[in-house]
């Protein structure tokens, strides 16, 4: 055990260093900068184990990562908010190209106007790009998940985004159990996926194809991603045997008699966890894996506990529809024999969720069945 005090961003960088990557191409953006700086410091001390390159934009960071991964290298990059939006074309391209890439996104509201709070809309609006997405609620979870994401991404040949909230996670210091370097590198092992670019092999890689050919590729990618929960569970089992910690695609707390649950992803899940003892007959589900959406795990849990109501904490809002996690959840539970009612607590703008706000929201939500959406700002 080697506990160190570090921020969520530092934990992400330490995980990358523990894994050992060939290339980090990155561009700074608040609140992700500490990740880039920490990795550059590793490079400066000769401890990164690979190359660090400062590129001219987020788009370039992901484009450079794509090129290196296509050549068979293990790569990492990190961004936030506008940076992620700027990458959008490359985000699609990388999943279509089936290159393994691990990227951290630190949630931050996208403007206009300029804003710094951790709205999840940046990463959630990349929902349909073919990337896996895992949300973390604390620095330890960040470190462990980033490490595991490399194995997941390389096994499925799909890029993986590890997401956490700006400031509440990225800038908050916690005691983190840092795995021993040799033990970590032995656990992860060198990359074993095949390079797409092999100089001795002529190939027309990701060239123009027909719609029918594309349809086959999209189906194959979809089916591959549906394997992610099982692969992730297997990775966590091995991780637990080596490091003594593990995580699920969802993590739940179900006190006896639970009839309603609070459903959250990222830092708000931690607030929910600590507030739970104040609430009666209430459990919680922390959604960790958002893509693929762990429909089966969620439905099985709700069925096993006869859950009647779910209050979703959505630190985001899809204008014209509402909270994105609530929409996803409703689609996932459609078809259950007795699907729970879904209420949505919207913290758009990345506003903070305090225990008081949550308690008030839960009290009011319990009594007013018809209110489907509640705005966090009204509870301040």
């Amino acid at each position: 055990m080697a506990y160190e005090l570090m921020s969520g961003s530092q934990a992400a960088a330490v995980a990358v260093q523990r894994v050992g990557v060939d290339l980090v191409a990155a561009y700074p953006i608040t609140p992700q900068t500490a990740i880039v700086e920490t990795l550059a410091n590793f490079e400066g001390r000769g401890e990164l184990g690979g190359e660090f390159v400062s590129v001219e934009s987020e788009y370039a960071a992901l484009a450079c990562s794509y090129g290196a991964a296509a050549a068979g290298a293990r790569v990492f990059t990190a961004t936030a908010s506008h940076g992620l939006a700027y990458m959008h074309e490359m985000i699609h391209w990388c999943s279509g190209a089936r290159v393994p890439i691990v990227m951290v996104n630190v949630n931050r509201t996208i403007g206009a106007p300029w804003s710094l709070d951790p709205d999840q809309g940046d990463s959630l609006s990349q929902r349909d790009t073919g990337w896996m997405q895992i949300y973390c609620s604390g620095a330890q979870e960040v470190l462990d998940t980033v490490m595991q994401a490399f194995l997941l991404s390389e096994e499925l040949l799909l890029p993986c985004m590890v997401v956490f909230d700006g400031f509440y996670i990225s800038h908050t210091y916690e005691a983190v159990d840092v795995p021993d370097l040799e033990k970590a590198r032995a656990f992860i092992g060198p990359p074993t996926f095949a390079a797409q670019v092999q100089p001795e092999k002529p190939a027309n890689i990701h060239a123009l194809i027909t719609g029918d050919m594309q349809a086959d590729l999209v189906r194959s990618r979809h089916k591959t991603m549906l394997r992610a929960p099982a692969v992730f569970k297997e990775i966590n089992q091995r991780f637990a045997e080596t490091f003594g910690r593990s995580y699920g695609v969802i993590d739940s707390v179900m006190p006896p008699g639970t009839k309603r649950v609070i459903f959250a992803a990222g830092a708000t899940a931690e607030t929910v966890r600590w507030t739970l003892p104040e609430l009666e007959e209430t459990g919680m589900v922390q959604l960790r894996m958002f893509r693929p959406f762990p429909r089966e795990d969620i439905c099985n849990l709700f069925e096993a506990h006869d859950i009647e109501q779910v209050v979703v904490v959505d630190r985001n809002c899809s204008t014209g529809m509402g909270g994105i996690l609530a929409q996803e959840l409703q689609a996932a539970i459609y078809g259950m024999e007795k699907p729970p009612a879904v209420k949505d607590l919207i913290l758009a703008g990345g506003i903070d969720l305090t225990p008081d706000m949550l308690i008030r929201a839960m009290t009011e939500t319990a009594s007013v069945d018809k209110v489907e959406q509640k705005w966090g700002v009204d509870l301040r």
């Binding site: 191409a25 934009s57 090129g67 296509a70 290298a73 670019v197 100089p199 190939a203 990701h206 027909t210």
Partner: protein
């Protein structure tokens, strides 16, 4: 060069590709791959060559081609180079291939970033002076006075063609050169020279486009030669951004620009006053180039 002098064994362009008849870009890449192959990896951005390369599993070249999105070429090249290095493949020549759109316009930021970092690869721009793959729309490489489908008659391209070579020279990169398909020996010499240099290298290749320029497919070489002999597209190289050298002088006096313009449909309705304006621009650029070359000689 006579056809029997070509080394057929080093040919990297497969028989059968999707280029139009008389395509300067197909010829340019044929010369390029033959000069630099066989240990070669090409990064290819959206351009005519995205089509020329063919549909998988078929391929027009005997080396890997990694396709990439339009603005990304310069950055993907950086990644492939570093990725191959990580895999111990330092000897592979990495070439990023882009059209004028992917170089002068949407790809300029990535190109500049890679050049500034002195990434170890060769960036080749085959310039057909408009978005030809999408059907001839104006780019910032389109010359003054030309008509395109986004500048149809009575409109014309206003403003000068962007001087990409000066931009690259300003980055102080180890090597930059111009070339065109009518002068394959000159092109090959530059490519082989570039291959021996480490760091960022840039080649600007003028590639006539029969359907876009509105010329006969048999005129490609003739036009390419006229572009050089009029001084519209001089053949030169720049070492370290400061050392300028002409590599292929027009024979005798420069040919009047009108001879280059007159048989191209894109300049068909170009008024004399604009032809004169373009001639003046070419003369001015020619003198400026000679001054740089003279200054280089003086400092040697």
């Amino acid at each position: 060069m006579r056809i029997e002098e070509l080394n057929q064994e080093s040919e990297m362009l497969n028989p059968g590709h999707n280029a139009c008849p008389g395509c300067g870009a197909a010829l340019a890449v044929r010369y390029l791959t033959r000069a630099l192959g066989p240990n070669l990896a090409i990064v290819l951005t959206a351009s005519c060559w995205s089509i020329i390369a063919g549909m998988p599993p078929l391929t027009a070249l005997k080396c890997p081609i990694l396709h990439c999105p339009f603005p990304s070429a310069g950055s993907v090249g950086s990644g492939v180079r570093r990725g191959l290095n990580a895999k111990g493949q330092h000897d592979t020549t990495v070439v990023v291939l882009a059209g004028d759109g992917g170089t002068f316009d949407i790809g300029l930021q990535a190109l500049s970033g890679a050049a500034q970092r002195n990434e170890d690869y060769l960036f080749v721009c085959y310039d057909n002076e408009a978005y030809m793959n999408t059907g001839m729309q104006t780019s910032s490489a389109t010359p003054f006075g030309a008509r395109t489908n986004t500048a149809p008659y009575p409109l014309f391209k206003e403003g000068q063609k962007k001087d990409i070579m000066q931009i690259m020279a300003a980055h102080g990169i180890p090597y930059a050169a111009t070339a065109t398909v009518a002068f394959p020996e000159d092109m090959e010499k530059k490519l082989k020279k570039a291959q021996e240099i480490r760091g960022f290298r840039f080649m600007h290749i003028l590639s006539p486009c029969p359907p876009g320029w509105g010329t006969d497919s048999s005129d490609t070489i003739h036009l390419s030669r006229l572009a050089v002999n009029t001084g519209f597209f001089p053949l030169y190289e720049i070492v370290n951004g400061v050392s300028w050298k002409m590599t292929c002088q027009p024979e005798g006096k420069r040919t009047p620009l009108k001879e280059y313009l007159q048989n191209q449909r894109r300049f068909k309705q170009m008024e004399d006053i604009r032809i004169e304006a373009l001639q003046e621009e070419v003369d001015h650029d020619w003198e400026a180039l000679l001054e740089k070359i003279e200054a280089t000689k003086c400092s040697d």
